[in-house]
């Protein structure tokens, strides 16, 4: 019997070591806890601030400000009279997605819109998380100066809010990383707008004066001139952004929207002008060669203000716009791949004066049309090795399936210099993606002056003369055309059309939707799934 008890005792002793509670604790070895990731000021800069720049670009659909598909860029581009994704037989129908964008019938459950919303708010919440952790760090380390870090994150967050407010109008304003469901309520568009302006204005003085588009400590980061550019954009669109009911047919007047700018009270147009002047004073200037801004090595550009740094070997950010536009054999001739998709609309051809003696010089910088040559200057041929590849710009339409020009209709994107060493079908390349540049500053300034009743010819013609084009008078009509040509396929067209009041009009292959004249399509719907899950949100008028 004794033997039995000793066996029993020994056995239970064996089991009992497990009863200590630490056995059930987790000790991760492949990730860090937040405290460790924020233990020094350098950690705070790295994981609290710089980490957020990973979300400016992207390599997955709907992620990043530009470079990827089905995201902010596509919502701002393929919904306009600037770009179209024709259905080409078995290709590019994609369940009606692209036609839906072009026809403004994107629906309230559009997955791309939903994913874009998620991307933007995720980034905002991560910014909020950074601010909270920086605050925690500051409380534990009162001697460290975190003011620069806080300013940079606030500016970055304001930029993401600017995209949210531009796309979705009246949206929730969230300043916590862990908000309650009951705090998710829609704010008026003007309130969100004022918040963004305040955040940018307050943080700008603490930001760096360095150039953001050129390699250095501030490469790709929020600097003063980036914030000034954003403030100019915000003021330029202030009539739209302060309009809390965009379906009532009236809009506030920019002359009576006032901003406090460095101690002065300026109206919207004067504010645009003020910030544009500051950018000019900071040394930004037009490149002599338009195409230099989009070259493989465009880091030295004196014109670019804010870019997504690209490096095919170091970073993961991709640029798919050339890839998805070029014809298969066209891409193949460069040793890359193509998806034969996106094309310029008839409005583009008309505005540039394509096929006329007066064609704008920038058409050839921005688009491929007609026969195309490889980098060695040889004619590019189709698979049969005989037929030359000839793009047919005028045959572009919403659906070209079954037509002889099914694969060749439409002028294609050229803008960025071919990176022959591009990877992943040419989606990984070294050309930095241009988000903001100085030519836009001049055009904003010209437009603001015209809208304020002044003369904007000088700025407009500075831009035109750089590409050797004859001067034009700065009228609103000329300015909208000029923006289509100068800023072709740079992601501004939807915003411009809305500001000029032409977004909801019909254009080629696109009739006006019933009821669209009230302007309801100038903002995207709050994704229905988000409303389902946040009972306090409501859908915008018209949807």
């Amino acid at each position: 019997m004794k033997r039995i008890y000793s066996i029993l005792f020994a056995s239970f002793f064996l089991l009992s070591w497990t009863s200590c509670s630490s056995y059930l604790e987790e000790n991760p070895k492949d990730r860090l806890d937040e405290e460790t990731a924020y233990s020094t000021l350098s950690d705070v800069q790295k994981n609290g601030v710089l980490s957020l720049y990973n979300y400016v670009g992207g390599y997955v659909d709907s992620q990043g400000l530009q470079g990827t598909g089905r995201g902010i860029y596509d919502l701002n581009t393929f919904t306009t009279d600037e770009a179209i994704m024709p259905t080409r037989g078995g290709d590019w129908y994609d369940g009606g997605f692209w036609q839906g964008l072009y026809l403004h019938r994107w629906g309230v459950n559009n997955e791309a819109i939903y994913a874009t919303w998620e991307y933007l708010y995720r980034t905002v919440i991560l910014c909020n998380g950074s601010l909270e952790r920086i605050q925690d760090f500051a409380e534990k380390h009162p001697k460290e100066n975190v003011a620069d870090c806080v300013a940079e994150v606030r500016a970055l967050r304001a930029m993401f809010y600017y995209y949210i407010m531009d796309l979705f109008g009246s949206v929730p304003l969230i300043e916590k990383s862990n908000p309650e469901v009951e705090d998710i309520i829609q704010e008026k568009r003007s309130k969100v707008f004022n918040f963004i302006v305040k955040e940018l204005t307050e943080s700008s003085s603490l930001l760096s004066k360095e150039r953001s588009n050129q390699p250095g400590v501030y490469y790709g980061r929020m600097t003063q001139s980036v914030v000034w550019f954003l403030l100019a954009k915000l003021a330029l669109n202030a009539e739209v952004y302060t309009d809390d009911d965009w379906t009532d047919g009236s809009r506030p007047d920019g002359k009576s929207i006032f901003f406090e700018v460095d101690g002065q009270r300026l109206n919207a147009w004067q504010t645009v002008n003020y910030y544009c002047e500051k950018i000019t004073a900071a040394g930004y200037t037009l490149e002599k060669d338009y195409t230099a801004n989009f070259a493989v090595f465009n880091e030295s550009s004196e014109e670019n203000i804010f870019v997504i740094p690209m490096s095919k070997t170091l970073y993961t950010n991709q640029f798919i716009y050339l890839f998805r536009s070029r014809h298969y054999n066209h891409a193949k001739a460069y040793g890359l791949s193509g998806e034969n998709g996106s094309s310029a609309t008839k409005e583009v051809l008309e505005t540039f004066g394509y096929d006329t003696p007066q064609v704008d010089a920038r058409f050839d910088y921005c688009y491929f049309a007609g026969p195309v040559k490889d980098l060695g200057g040889n004619q590019i041929l189709l698979d049969d090795g005989v037929t030359p590849l000839v793009y047919e710009p005028w045959n572009v339409a919403l659906d070209v399936s079954g037509k002889p020009y099914e694969k060749t209709a439409g002028a294609r994107m050229k803008k960025y210099e071919v990176d022959k060493t591009g990877l992943k079908d040419g989606k990984l390349l070294d050309n930095d993606i241009v988000l903001y540049r100085y030519a836009d500053v001049l055009l904003m300034q010209s437009e603001a002056k015209v809208r304020n009743g002044e003369d904007g010819d000088a700025e407009l013609n500075l831009v035109r003369s750089r590409v050797g084009m004859a001067p034009r008078t700065a009228t609103l009509e000329n300015l909208l055309d000029e923006r289509m040509m100068e800023l072709a396929w740079e992601g501004w067209r939807r915003q411009d059309m809305i500001r000029f009041g032409v977004f909801t009009r019909s254009y080629s292959c696109r009739p006006q939707l019933p009821g669209e004249e009230n302007g309801y399509t100038t903002v995207f719907p709050i994704p229905e799934k988000v409303i389902d899950m946040n009972p306090q949100l409501h859908q915008h008028k018209g949807y």
Binding site: Y23, N109, A112, I125, S401
Partner: protein
């Protein structure tokens, strides 16, 4: 409660089958349901008991009842034999199983596969490949919570307990089993041939790239697959010890070029009595080494094979040595170029265990059990420059270790008519999962492949990674089984588990169960009914927990590298939280009610068993779709929602004929199953949160199908898990150019809108409502024949293959079905037009065996020869290649046949068994 399937439908199915079977000769495989001795010892979880002491739903299948031929994975031995068991084999007939379900899908996490136990070692589906099928002595299947509760956290999806053969006292014996087989594809999609394609292009005035050949690329990528299996076992023993050693080898070639599998297994066990019988010691080792070469991307391969320009040659360009491509068909690649892709997996598995049984007193035993399992899987992949821009090589290694120990005390006492069986158990388990992978790209040569990772110029940042997890579990179990006069049985289990994966205050879960049974045949009043040999009623209720498939560290706020960001000229890796944190994560709990009756008539020549179950899963663990904001990420692992499963399982065994020379057995089981997703909302951190109303599970891929309204199967609250949610097509309408498009119904007025919540409706479910397994066997003297029939009813299949290949718009870049030009549909919109009935009856295999007469001699004791043919045929109204697609596993292929189906193939196999 769900409406019960009318019984008449089941009978109809049976009758229907009877008719079908009539065309086939019916003979035996020597398998009799009733030969099972009523007093055989069952493994009921940790406990062991005889049939009369069982009050839960426990099924045991011994070697005689198993499928014997054409088995690669052990579970195939019981396929069709267990009501409620569905096995989804991997597409290519290789060893690994995609998924196994007992009584359907009850959880939204991946913890739906049953717990697999081999000789006491706990594992998952991967462990099965390390056991050679003929080494198995018995399977015990625990389905309802009254007995699965013994495994608490692990048993929610049922338990399959495998006991391997052991040595026996007596002379040393040797068994050999071997087989040779050939498999070949016999049917594929009927696409336009080269000539037809050429003719059509000429008629319609398309300019095509005509290389002048007529190639059936579907055929061009096939091969005749040879198969062989060998297993040799030695066993023997004496009074105090015994042993058994077995070695196995399987070699399988698939029906598509380069597909193949090699598997080596070894299994050793021994037992020894020590210290005058005080201690019984058992030791076991099993291990395996498996090498697979599989297709890298099923869809890309079969899509390319079907749709590639048929005028291209089936040989590479003689000048360049590379495969001709069509640049305009960007979603496909020359299918023969795909055959150059090298995609391999190598899995080594090793497991050892020891069990010490201390016979402390006559009625009191203590069992100490320990096991250690180690497995490592290496994946290697090379995509040559012909199919992948610049080429890509990948290698990855995953290691998994499990250390398990338990201590159990059992007390069994018979006092007059009272029998008491008490069990107490404590158990600890420690797992470790770790691994890494790396990718290189930009190859200048395709020759060395993944053997030379340095052959790639670049290593993309996101192509490399590693991970480490170390979850722990602690459990205690108490069990009491009381039987009075072999008439009344009562079993109570109480298990408590703790897992390191859950939140600080939610680590422990308690899972009780109770069940009772009444052996009516033991009552005096039943003596009058001579024809009734057995009548037993069972009732049970219990809870089981689940934590399967969830990640570690979900409850902690942690950061991981989120990318490389430029600072100055140097790249910098930064850290960020990459998922939502849920500090309150806890156990998912499933409660099950089970009622059953077992009957035997006419000397057990008619056996009938009926079980009804109703289960509800609460606090369902799932990566819920949550809203951004308030969350940063759109997935949250949380305990929300609930799901209900119910079903009736009916099994019948009939022996209408039994003489010395002849015997006929018919076994059939029918399962009626229902599932409903009750809720996807609940409380999280004190707030009510709700997941999205519609979640797409499976959709379509391919040219013109990227995004948009191409989601087909959805998860919708209030519906069964996995329903077809589609626009309704009213028929074909002219497109004005001589072709047709799908006319979509405006279901809710206001114009046609394909969005979720608009003109879509729930058009059916992806999971069968009725499952059928049936085996008919007939023996005449030394010959036997066995036919296995399976079926599934009540579900639908989306024929996405036809949607794509009927679309005339895809010509001439993508080939179409031969009948497409006649139909002339120019539309790729996903509607219910291609939603088809999925009902089928499949004649799984037919075996003819011969037990070779052997004169009594010294060495050879027995020999058997058998011929098996599988995939005899399928009866189905489905217009695609086969209705046997994924109707089980909730993933992105669920219920959708989308250009990824293998050609239909058949295997002929001759097998030989020798006993020395």
């Amino acid at each position: 409660m769900d409406k019960m399937q009318p019984i008449s439908q089941a009978l109809y199915s049976l009758l229907f089958l009877g008719c079908m079977g009539a065309g086939f000769p019916l003979y035996v495989q020597g398998q009799n349901v009733d030969e099972l001795p009523p007093d055989s010892i069952y493994n009921i979880g940790y406990a062991r008991g005889s049939l009369k002491n069982i009050s839960g739903s426990v099924e045991q299948i011994t070697e005689k009842q198993m499928n014997r031929e054409l088995i690669t994975n052990p579970l195939e031995a019981i396929q069709g034999r267990v009501p409620g068991l569905t096995i989804l084999k991997s597409n290519n007939g290789m060893a690994a199983l995609e998924s196994v379900r007992l009584r359907g899908t009850t959880s939204l996490t991946s913890g739906n596969d049953p717990l697999i136990i081999v000789d006491g070692v706990l594992g998952d589906l991967t462990m099965l490949t390390s056991v050679y099928p003929t080494d198995i002595e018995s399977f015990t299947i625990l389905k309802d919570a009254s007995e699965t509760a013994q495994y608490g956290s692990r048993g929610a999806s049922g338990v399959i307990n495998i006991v391997t053969k052991k040595g026996r006292a007596g002379k040393t014996r040797v068994n050999y089993n071997g087989s040779f087989g050939v498999s070949h594809a016999y049917r594929r999609l009927d696409m336009l041939s080269g000539a037809e394609y050429r003719k059509l292009a000429a008629e319609r005035g398309w300019s095509i790239l005509d290389k002048g050949y007529d190639t059936d690329f579907q055929k061009a990528i096939e091969q005749t697959g040879l198969q062989q299996n060998h297993n040799i076992a030695f066993y023997g023993g004496g009074e105090a010890s015994n042993y058994r050693v077995s070695l196995g080898f399987q070699n399988r070639e698939g029906v598509i070029q380069n597909e193949g599998m090699k598997l080596f297994t070894a299994n050793m066990n021994m037992s020894q009595k020590m210290l005058d019988g005080l201690i019984d010691c058992e030791l076991g080792l099993f291990g395996s080494m498996k090498r697979d070469r599989t297709l890298f991307d099923l869809q890309k391969t079969f899509y390319s094979a079907a749709a590639f320009n048929p005028t291209f040659p089936d040989f590479p360009d003689p000048e360049t040595g590379s495969w001709d491509q069509i640049t305009t068909a960007s979603q496909i690649t020359n299918p023969l170029a795909w055959m150059d892709v090298d995609n391999r997996e190598e899995t080594s598995y090793f497991s050892s265990h020891a069990r010490l049984t201390f016979n402390l007193l006559k009625d009191l035993k203590m069992v100490l059990f320990g096991s250690y399992t180690y497995s490592t899987t290496e994946n290697a992949q090379f995509l040559p420059t012909t199919v992948w821009a610049n080429g890509q090589a990948y290698r990855g290694n995953r290691k998994s270790e499990a250390l398990l120990g338990n201590l159990m005390l059992t007390y069994q006492k018979q006092l007059g008519a009272h029998f008491l069986d008490v069990l107490a158990l404590g158990e600890v388990e420690k797992n470790r999962f770790h691994g890494f992978y790396t990718t290189t790209t930009n190859f200048s040569s395709n020759e060395l492949g993944y053997h030379s990772l340095q052959g790639g110029a670049l290593r993309p940042w996101e192509g490399t990674g590693s991970y480490y997890e170390e979850p722990h579990l602690v459990s205690f179990l108490g069990r009491v089984n009381y039987t009075y006069d072999d008439r009344y049985v009562l079993t109570v289990n109480l298990r408590t588990d703790a897992s390191s994966k859950f939140g600080r205050n939610h680590k422990w879960g308690v899972f009780p169960s109770v069940s009772a049974a009444w052996n009516i045949t033991r009552e005096k009043f039943m003596r009058r009914f001579h024809l009734i040999d057995n009548l037993k009623l069972r009732l049970g209720y219990g809870l089981a927990g689940n934590q399967g498939g969830i990640d570690s560290y979900t409850t902690m706020a942690l950061v991981r590298p989120n990318g490389v960001t430029p600072v100055g000229n140097s790249p910098l890796v930064t850290y960020e939280s990459l998922k939502n944190v849920n500090p309150d994560l806890k156990w998912e709990v499933k409660s099950t009610f089970n009622a059953g009756v077992d009957m035997g008539f006419y000397g057990n020549r008619l056996l009938l068993s009926v079980n009804y179950y109703l289960s509800k899963t609460r606090d369902m663990l799932y990566q819920y779709d949550v809203s951004v904001p308030p969350f940063a990420y759109n997935k949250l692992l949380a305990n929300l929602g609930s799901m209900r499963n119910s079903g009736t399982e009916l099994s019948i065994g009939i022996t209408p004929l039994r003489t010395k020379d002849m015997e006929l057995n018919i076994n059939a089981n029918v399962t009626f199953q229902r599932n409903k997703l009750l809720s996807l909302s609940g409380m999280y951190e004190g707030e009510y949160i709700s997941a999205a109303q519609y979640t797409a599970l499976a959709g379509l891929n391919g040219a013109g199908l990227h995004g948009g309204y191409n989601n087909i199967v959805y998860q919708i609250v209030g519906q069964p898990l996995g329903v077809f949610y589609l626009p309704h097509c009213e028929g074909l309408v002219s497109d004005g150019n001589g072709g047709y498009t799908y006319k979509i119904a405006d279901l809710n007025g206001g114009g046609v809108n394909l969005e979720e919540g608009e003109d879509r409706y729930v058009a059916g479910q992806a999971t069968p409502k009725t499952l059928l397994g049936s085996n008919i066997s007939f023996r005449y003297k030394r010959f036997d024949v066995s036919l296995q029939i399976n079926g599934a009813f009540g579900h639908k299949i989306y024929n996405g293959t036809a949607l794509s290949y009927m679309n005339m718009n895809s010509l001439p870049d993508y080939n179409v079905l031969a009948e497409a030009p006649a139909r002339n549909i120019h539309d790729l919109t996903a509607t219910d037009y291609w939603l088809e009935n999925g009902n089928y009856v499949n004649f799984d295999y037919l075996t003819v065996g011969w037990n070779v007469p052997i004169k009594k001699q010294r060495f050879l004791h027995g020999a058997r020869l058998a011929l098996t043919i599988n995939n005899l045929g399928t009866i189905s109204g489905y217009s695609g290649l086969t209705p046997l697609i994924n109707s089980t596993l909730v993933d992105d292929t669920f219920g959708v046949d989308d250009k990824r189906t293998y050609p239909l193939s058949r295997t002929y196999m001759i097998s030989l068994g020798l006993n020395f």
